[in-house]
Each structure stands twice: as structure tokens, then as C-alpha cells.
Symmetry: C2
Subunit: 125 residues, 2 copies
Amino acid sequence: MMKDRQHSSEACLSSINAVKDALYVLNGKWKLPLIVSLINGPKRFNEIQRSLSEITPKVLSKELREMELNGFVERKVFDTFPVTVIYELTDYSDTLGPIIDALSLWGTQHRQRIVEMRKLEPVTT
Amino acid sequence: MMKDRQHSSEACLSSINAVKDALYVLNGKWKLPLIVSLINGPKRFNEIQRSLSEITPKVLSKELREMELNGFVERKVFDTFPVTVIYELTDYSDTLGPIIDALSLWGTQHRQRIVEMRKLEPVTT
DNA sequence: CTGCATCCTATAGGATACTG
DNA sequence: CAGTATCCTATAGGATGCAG
């Protein structure tokens, strides 16, 4: 029986490009965490900022605009005083679910692994 | 029945951090594509370079060393002339499978979506 | 062939202050 | 409250050349 690798050269290339395409849109430090932050429901600008500790308003603003352009987030303004703005995930952002789930799960497991490794390797300084 | 969001505030924070942890290790433009490139089997330095079109040797070298440190890749040297070096995925890198699958699938679908949208929005210049 | 040394630039991302 | 304006720095990543 033929091994996968025998006929996977083009498949490999197209996978690489598919992954690169995805990363191109989801680039940076904040895109995915931002989506996670909104999964529970719409949030206001300041709420998002607080949930992603350490992000500055300038960066958050920029990220949100990019996400809006990419169709992941919808911005809604309410004419109160002071003005109220909420950000809300779109249906399209739901398609990112598997990616986020996989990253979240792996991140959790990876953190545990690091902890385990620290136990096995006592301080060597 | 209670909605998820009611009791998901901490869960949300921990998901955000899990995702951030994962992204911290898998950061940059090349980590994941590099792994995809090796999925079919071990490759030599130049083979990897060719499969990831456009990556420069300096960057590839740096990425590979990081991946080695993180336990995703193993480097094997053969004492031929000129020297032969192959890079090979470790078992641990298999745990990234779901992430890569999800990214690859999404990337493919996303590309198609872009194409569809271009059809619907004829040139506006 | 493998990959380091050097140099270089663009940009991501942060600090701070300010506005409608 | 929801951002914008400015300024700043670190670094990712690329170009090129050379070495074992």
C-alpha cells in the first residue's frame, strides 16, 4: 500500500498555503483572543479592553477595525450620553470555532506540560 | 435554563489565556507552515526552504532552532560530504494536529469565500 | 549543502496624553 | 465612554555574502 507521502507533494503545498492564508488574516497577538473575549456576547470597548489585560486603546481600536473589515465583528453605536458602542461577533466568526477550540485546548495542555517539565528538571543554576 | 454566558466570565478569561499561550509558542509567520511542510516526512534544509517559498535561510534556521527548543522538531545530522541534515517532526508535534487541520480547512474555505465575494462585487474603480 | 554573520527596514505593538 | 494623535522601541523578517 502506498504511503501518504508518495502522492502528497501538491497536497502539502496547498495545505501550507491554506494555513498561510488563515494566519494572514488571523495574524498578530490579539485577533483570536479578541474573538474569544466576545464569544460570551457583545461587549463595550472598555469591557473588551479590561478582558484582554494589557492591550492599549490604540491597538484595540486598530484590531477592532481590522476585524470589522474582515467581517468577524460588528460595531453598533447607541446614541446615549456618553455614547455607547458595542462590538458583537458575526455569524461568519463562528466558522473560526474549531480553530479557537483547538488552540484553547492545546494551550491548556501545553501549559500543563510546561509545569510537569519544571517538576522533573529541578533548578540547574 | 441558564445561558452559558451567565457563568462564563472566568471561563472566558482562562480561554483567552489558553489561546494566548498557544499563540505565544506558535507565533510568527512560519511556525505552523513549517510543521505542515514536515508532515509528509523528514526533509532536508533546502527541501524545507523550497517548500516554503520565499523564506530565507536565516529565518528558516532561526525558526527551526526555536521549534527544536520547543520539542516540535528533531534535527539529525549525517556525516556525508557535503553534510546532510534532516529535520523530522516529533511525537509532541502531533498534538498540534487539530490546530493545523482547523487552520488548513478554514484557510481553504476562506479563500473560496474571498473568490465568491469578488464575483459579487464587480470592479468599482 | 547547511546555515551563520551582517546589515537593513517595516511594522507591530506599547506609553502617554488628549478630545468629542 | 470611546476612541484618536503622537511618539517610541523592539523585533520580525528580509537581502546579501560568506564559511565549513
